[in-house]
């Protein structure tokens, strides 16, 4: 089975590109930040610098692990789903579920390993640049040298491999078990995340306006709420669809398609919700905090600066990562639909109508994602601004919100329409025949 895995990678490298990209980016981020641990552990690094470096590594490293897992998992799920026919064929030719599992997990591990190996070089450069940022802002003394050591290397490779293998295992298990209702675990996790998020957000009111840790509870609360929403994504989508009066052939078809594929689209919706919530909440809170510090006339402490740098780096990473994930999974999901598009065209849909359907689907998806992401973000922002400043809704939130929504909409609409357009170049008869 491992031989089969190797062959399938060698002969269809393109199919693994999405997974490879996720593994590569993830490994690069993890290694970049964990090399701060290595740098801090060197002899002769003063305690303030070491603390700054370790905090950055700890916080972003944690985020990074989660992100890598999510990203690789979503790429692999799409990959396995698209290969349903191939896997079924293998099962018919006598492969046991365990063998299929070994094959898919084997492929994922090899791809993860390649991704991690490719990431080493960029991560070294990235680590050096990150250290310079810290040094320029005076958070780390100039004398500290960058070091790319065992911690960065081991965590980077281990986490990427574990994430790949775990995600592949889950994806293939879901595929070989066939269609079955999702268990209660997901529901439980969703409610747990929503509850802890709500508690965390409410606990903001316990803090006083000048507490250094004031930003933590609403920020974590907003993230947890968005995770809760993300886990409930398919049901939220169905709820939105029920309240949507759409006319026109494209809209009609879009609503029906989305309803049927709600489960499949959950990954994309998840990324959208997380992206909107995390980016809006963190950036707005940071902007409010900076304004408040400026207004009070105090200079920023090292801690405050650390927090600012961290917030911006975290958001930057999440934005890039989630965008890549979105583009990745949307592109893969849309190219998978070539046959369906062909069937629509044979049933009498003009290319414009097919694009219209895809566009309508994406708009509904984006609006749903942005809506629930914003709800989660606002749930965190409002308590924070009430405690920190006086206004309920700061002026910053609008500009940031609009920017975040614009990025989300451009990424989703752009990807799906461009991919769909490319799919439409194949004549309808050919598109239908290829997959059959």
């Amino acid at each position: 089975m491992f031989m089969l895995a190797m062959r399938s990678i060698r002969h269809r490298p393109g199919r693994f590109l999405a997974t490879l990209l996720c593994a590569f980016l993830g490994a690069a981020i993890i290694m970049t930040f964990n090399s701060m641990h290595d740098t801090a552990a060197q002899n002769g690094v003063d305690s303030t610098s070491a603390e700054t470096l370790s905090t950055a590594a700890g916080v972003v490293g944690g985020y990074g692990t989660l992100l890598v897992f999510f990203a690789v998992a979503s790429a692999l799920t799409v990959n396995v789903r698209q290969r349903a026919a191939e896997l079924a064929l293998l099962r018919c030719s006598g492969a046991t579920p365990a063998q299929l599992k070994r094959m898919v997990v084997g492929e994922a591990v090899v791809v993860g390993l390649v991704g991690a190996a490719l990431a080493i070089g960029p991560a070294m450069l990235g680590g050096r640049m990150l250290l310079e940022v810290f040094q320029d802002s005076g958070q780390v003394t100039e004398s500290v040298e960058h070091s790319f050591g065992p911690i960065a290397l081991m965590t980077g490779i281990d986490i990427t491999l574990l994430a790949s293998a775990g995600a592949a295992f889950l994806a293939v298990r879901r595929a070989t078990r066939g269609h079955r209702k999702r268990g209660g675990a997901r529901k439980f996790l969703a409610y747990a995340a929503l509850l802890t998020g709500a508690v965390s957000v409410s606990s903001t009111f316990v803090f006083s306006a000048t507490d250094a840790a004031l930003m933590a509870p609403p920020a974590y609360g907003a993230i947890l709420l968005s995770v809760g929403f993300a886990l409930m994504a398919p049901r939220l989508l169905e709820g939105v669809l029920d309240r949507l009066p759409l006319s026109g052939a494209s809209g009609w078809l879009a609503v029906r398609n989305l309803r049927e594929r709600a489960g499949h689209l959950a990954g994309i919706l998840m990324s959208l919700i997380l992206f909107t919530a995390v980016a809006t909440a963190t950036l707005t809170m940071q902007a409010v905090e900076s304004d408040a510090v400026e207004a009070s006339g105090l200079t920023k402490s090292i801690d405050a600066k650390n927090l600012e740098t961290l917030n911006f780096t975290v958001v930057g990473i999440i934005v890039v990562f989630v965008c890549v994930m979105l583009v990745n999974s949307l592109c893969a999901a849309t190219s998978y639909r070539g046959r369906e598009f062909g069937q629509q065209r044979l049933a009498g849909a003009t290319p414009g109508q097919v694009l219209g359907t895809v566009g309508a689907e994406t708009v509904i998806l984006t609006v749903t994602g942005v809506l629930f992401g914003s709800v989660a973000a606002l749930a965190g922002i409002v308590p924070f601004t009430v405690v920190r400043g006086d206004a309920v809704l700061p002026g910053d939130v609008y500009g940031i919100g609009v920017a975040v929504v614009a990025v989300a909409a451009t990424a989703t609409l752009g990807t799906s329409l461009v991919t769909a357009r490319r799919m439409l170049r194949t004549p309808a008869v050919g598109a239908v025949a290829v997959a059959s």
Partner: protein, 261 residues
């Protein structure tokens, strides 16, 4: 793109000839690997006829059907459907033309998995922006024997039932011509018979024109006449066919093709 463009505004009723092909040529590939699928085919099919197109594998049957239906563009020659010539034009224009006058039935059904039986059936009407009458949907599905399956999904149906949905979908727009590409190719004999009877009924009862590509002599015997195709050329015609006569003719076609090679 439509030379007889005036027909769009005031329909004068069906043209006497449903399908007309003049010297249609189609070549796939280029240079050394070029394969001539159609080599100057000229034919005319009268309104309200049921014609089967037969021939050995690679004889160009499917290409003929695709060119006649506007799904593929011939390299040269003229294709006229219901009196209107299909020339250039974009896919959107062609689609809009086909939507009103042409219905399709494929071997692989090509039903949309996300839609129910009823939704699949009315899809062409929806796409054409027409109002959909629930009673009419039920009526047309009842006529193909699926009146009690409106809410089912294609994957809950047998192959024969799916093909009957496809036929209902092809007929829902009341097209002048129905093109069927191996409609019984994936069906058992009993389901195949149901499907062929439905096609026959569309011709006899509703005056539609049906063109069906098949390799099955029994299926071809349901047609009024059979056109034989070999190496991209017409190789004969058989009226009021019986399965045995068709099979014998086909066997000789094979001999000829083999001898030429």
């Amino acid at each position: 793109m439509f030379r007889a463009g005036s027909r769009r505004t005031h329909d004068k009723g069906p043209a006497p000839e449903a399908v007309r092909l003049v010297k249609v040529t189609k070549t796939y590939g280029s240079h050394d690997s070029a394969v001539t699928a159609l080599d100057g085919v000229t034919l005319g099919l009268g309104r309200g006829t049921f014609t089967a197109v037969m021939g050995p594998s690679g004889s160009g049957k499917t290409t003929l059907l695709h060119c006649a239906a506007g799904l593929d563009r011939p390299d040269s020659g003229i294709v006229r459907v219901d009196g209107t010539e299909l020339t250039g034009g974009g896919e959107a224009e062609l689609t809009k033309f086909r939507r009103g006058r042409v219905g399709f039935v494929f071997q692989q059904y090509n039903l949309l998995e996300t839609l129910t039986v009823a939704q699949n059936t009315v899809l062409p009407l929806k796409l054409a922006g027409q109002r959909v009458d629930r009673g009419r949907t039920k009526e047309i599905l009842t006529s193909v024997g699926l009146g009690d399956r409106l809410g089912h999904r294609p994957d809950q149906l047998s192959g024969g039932q799916r093909q009957r949905v496809a036929i209902a979908r092809a007929l829902v727009t009341e097209p002048r011509v129905v093109f069927a590409d191996e409609p019984t190719g994936a069906l058992d004999t009993r389901s195949a018979r149901d499907v062929l009877r439905l096609l026959q009924q569309a011709v006899r009862a509703h005056g539609r024109t049906v063109v069906m590509v098949t390799h099955d002599p029994v299926a071809a015997s349901y047609a009024d006449s059979v056109l034989f195709l070999a190496d991209g050329r017409l190789a004969g015609r058989l009226d009021t066919p019986t399965p045995d006569a068709v099979a014998e003719r086909l066997a000789h076609l094979g001999d000829n093709a083999a001898m030429e090679v």
